[in-house]
């Protein structure tokens, strides 16, 4: 997978590039609009990550030129302003997704993969993490073969974590996915639900699956060193 990052803030560009390379992407980086436009117009990328506030040629302008030149690579916009008009303007110019700074890298990765997947991946009906099994059709959960009763919110939370097993998901991502944006920022609702989920899933087992990564979020993983 070939990916172009156009971002004038070097530090942001570098950690995004580093993170993507760790996920086995081939990454090119441009630090200004002109260089970005030149790269994007010459090569066919699978994904372009585009900052809006760029010296030289602005992000929205690059987007317009790309679409005019029939370059159809999905574009994920990064921005530090998130007014609704601006979002609408960029979606109209051909953006595929939108991410407001400061973002968790995990979120960028999830969105990038969603854009690349395009056609829905064949999602198996059963999710497995270690000895934990989630049946997506019947919404039944078993640990070591034993059935666990979960409320619908607890199930949604566990399924979200398990479907990104091994990846740390931030509270913001969890709230936006399992609840909605209104809950963001103020409540400890995620922590309370995770505690309840742990009591049901992990308490009876010495081998823990739900891990807290301080400062980053939560992670469901069979590995022990995540904790």
């Amino acid at each position: 997978m070939r990916c172009l990052v156009i971002e004038d803030e070097r530090k942001v560009a570098d950690f995004v590039a580093r993170g993507l390379r760790a996920e086995r992407f081939a990454v090119d980086v441009a630090y200004d609009g002109q260089a970005g436009w030149e790269l994007a117009s010459v090569y066919d990328y699978d994904l372009i990550i585009l900052d809006l506030m760029l010296p030289g040629v602005g992000g929205t302008e690059i987007l317009r030129r790309l679409r005019r030149a029939r370059k159809e690579a999905p574009v994920l916009i990064l921005t530090a302003r998130d007014s609704t008009e601006q979002k609408v303007e960029n979606f109209e110019a051909g953006a595929d997704d939108y991410l407001t700074k400061p973002f968790a890298f995990a979120e960028l990765l999830v969105r990038a993969k969603a854009l690349l997947r395009r056609a829905p991946a064949s999602r198996g009906s059963v999710l497995r993490v270690g000895d934990l099994e989630l049946d997506r059709l019947s919404q039944q959960v078993r640990r070591a073969g034993k059935k666990i009763d979960l409320t619908s919110k607890e199930y949604a939370l566990l399924e979200y974590l398990a479907s990104h097993a091994g990846r740390v998901l931030s509270r913001t991502m969890i709230i936006e996915h399992v609840w909605d944006q209104s809950f963001e920022g103020l409540t400890n609702i995620v922590d309370v639900y995770v505690r309840h989920l742990r009591a049901k899933v992990d308490d009876a087992h010495p081998h823990k699956l739900i891990h807290t990564v301080r400062g980053a979020g939560y992670c469901v993983s069979d590995e022990q060193d995540k904790a």
Binding site: K11, R18, E85, K101, A106, K153, L186, R195, D225
Partner: protein
């Protein structure tokens, strides 16, 4: 009528002054009139005396005193014409004295010692007379005092008539003047009342409105112009503040993104020492908090700039509230607090549903945070008085009276230690207020310390269900 209003006070002063001036003027007029009437009466009496002196007394030696007396009687007929005439000699003896007339009886009036004087006397029967006395010495020798008089009654009647018509006419004049004054003052102050009414309507959301101009060229027009300039300056200051907030939020986000990205890569590295990961994780938590504060500030500045109206839909506030309460029930359960939701009937409002939900979330979250275990929270939604009213009441620790006016201010905390422990940044209620204002509503709080708080949100009902 408000007795302290400018209109009432001006008219009252006006009426008082008018009364005082009128009474003084009337009194002076009355005196002048009396003097004029008395003087002209005295003049004609004196002329009569002179006539008597010149035509009769001058020849008294030749004609004899009895002739004079007969002539006076014949020529002037004082009894018939309601006159008093008396001629006395130097020694005080009377040569001639007129008798009783229809209106008075002069019998027994003393002869004055002083000559050439005008005096008023009362007769024995009570009638008042004005009498002039003049001494006369005929060329042939001798000395006489001629007195002529007449009743005061016609003068007094005239004065009384004048006074009565004045006293009757004055209240009428006063009434007309007060009514006219009241009307004129009302007209002059009308623009002020109008200005006060428009000023009342101007809030942060409609700073583009201006006060009405009167174009009268008077002080009130100047006042409205000055006030409008003040609103413009106020608006500029407010805009500057808003731009600063937006720019600051933007400038803060980019470095925060870099900071977060670098730290996350450390935390998620399996190779890193657990102690390092813990420390960087702790720093990352602070980055998160900072990012949330920046986001909320930015959201508030956008709401205050009136950007809320872009995604408005019509929805049922009662259902939104009960769904939200349901979603948050675990948080309450976890603390041992009961939440009851009273939202039966449909209450349609119009607005940004996600934002309104945030209001419910923040108020409920607050209530749960500050209500100890065993307490109760009640959420109520109803249409009341043409408004959609949402109330969140708790039996929690309450808010001290001194802090109540500030709870909706940005970064305000009732008790610094307490709310930081609970994870607040002092922005939750500030954004609630901004959201309510942006929707044309308001939020209020009442609270009794250690008894509980009650937050009340009022929003306009959606157009089609007005009054429902």
């Amino acid at each position: 009528m408000n007795p302290r209003s400018l209109r009432f006070r001006l008219v009252a002063w006006y009426a008082g002054l008018l009364t005082a001036v009128f009474l003084l003027f009337g009194l002076a007029m009355f005196q002048v009139l009396r003097q004029y009437l008395e003087r002209s009466m005295a003049d004609s009496l004196r002329r009569r005396s002179e006539q008597i002196a010149a035509s009769l007394l001058a020849n008294v030696r030749q004609s004899g005193e009895s002739y004079v007396a007969d002539e006076i009687k014949a020529r002037y007929a004082p009894e018939n014409y309601d006159r008093f005439i008396r001629v006395s000699r130097a020694g005080g003896t009377v040569l001639y004295a007129s008798g009783r007339t229809a209106s008075f009886d002069p019998a027994g009036l003393p002869v004055p010692l002083l000559a050439d004087a005008t005096r008023q006397v009362s007769c024995a029967d009570g009638a008042r007379l004005l009498i002039t006395a003049q001494s006369y010495a005929p060329p042939a020798g001798g000395h006489y005092l001629i007195e002529c008089g007449g009743p005061m009654q016609p003068v007094e009647t005239m004065l009384a008539q004048w006074r009565n018509s004045f006293l009757l006419g004055f209240p009428l004049v006063l009434l007309v003047a007060v009514a006219g004054g009241y009307f004129l003052v009302g007209r002059a102050l009308g623009p002020v009342v109008e200005m006060a009414r428009s000023a009342e309507r101007i809030t942060l959301q409609n700073l583009d409105e201006r006060l009405p101009l009167t174009h009268t060229g008077d002080e009130i027009e100047q006042l409205s112009i000055a006030l409008n300039h003040m609103i413009v300056r106020w608006r500029e200051a407010f805009d500057q503040n808003r731009r600063f907030l937006a720019d600051a939020s933007h400038e803060l986000r980019t470095p925060l993104a870099a900071l977060r990205g670098e730290m996350e890569s450390v935390v998620e590295q399996a190779r890193a020492l657990p102690e390092w990961r813990d420390r960087v994780g702790s720093a990352l938590e602070e980055v998160d908090r900072l990012a949330k504060i920046v986001e909320t500030l930015f959201a508030i500045s956008r709401l205050d700039a009136g950007e809320a109206q872009q995604v408005w839909t019509k929805f049922d506030l009662a259902r939104l509230a009960s769904n939200t309460a349901e979603q948050m029930s675990l948080l309450a359960e976890d603390k041992g607090v009961s939440v009851s939701c009273l939202a039966a009937a449909e209450v349609q409002v119009e607005g940004d549903q996600a934002r309104i939900k945030q209001v419910v979330v923040n108020l409920l979250d607050n209530a749960i945070k500050y209500t100890p275990g065993g307490g109760a929270i009640s959420l109520q939604v109803q249409a009341r008085g043409g408004k959609a009213v949402l109330e969140v009441a708790d039996t929690g620790i309450g808010i001290p009276a001194s802090a109540l006016p500030h709870v909706f201010e940005r970064f305000f905390r009732v008790d610094k230690a307490r709310s930081r422990e609970a994870g607040g940044a002092g922005l939750g209620l500030a954004i609630v207020k901004s959201i309510c204002l942006a929707h044309g509503g308001k939020v209020e709080v009442e609270s009794v310390e250690s008894r509980g708080s009650r937050f009340r949100v009022e929003l306009p009902l959606a157009a089609s269900t007005n009054g429902g």
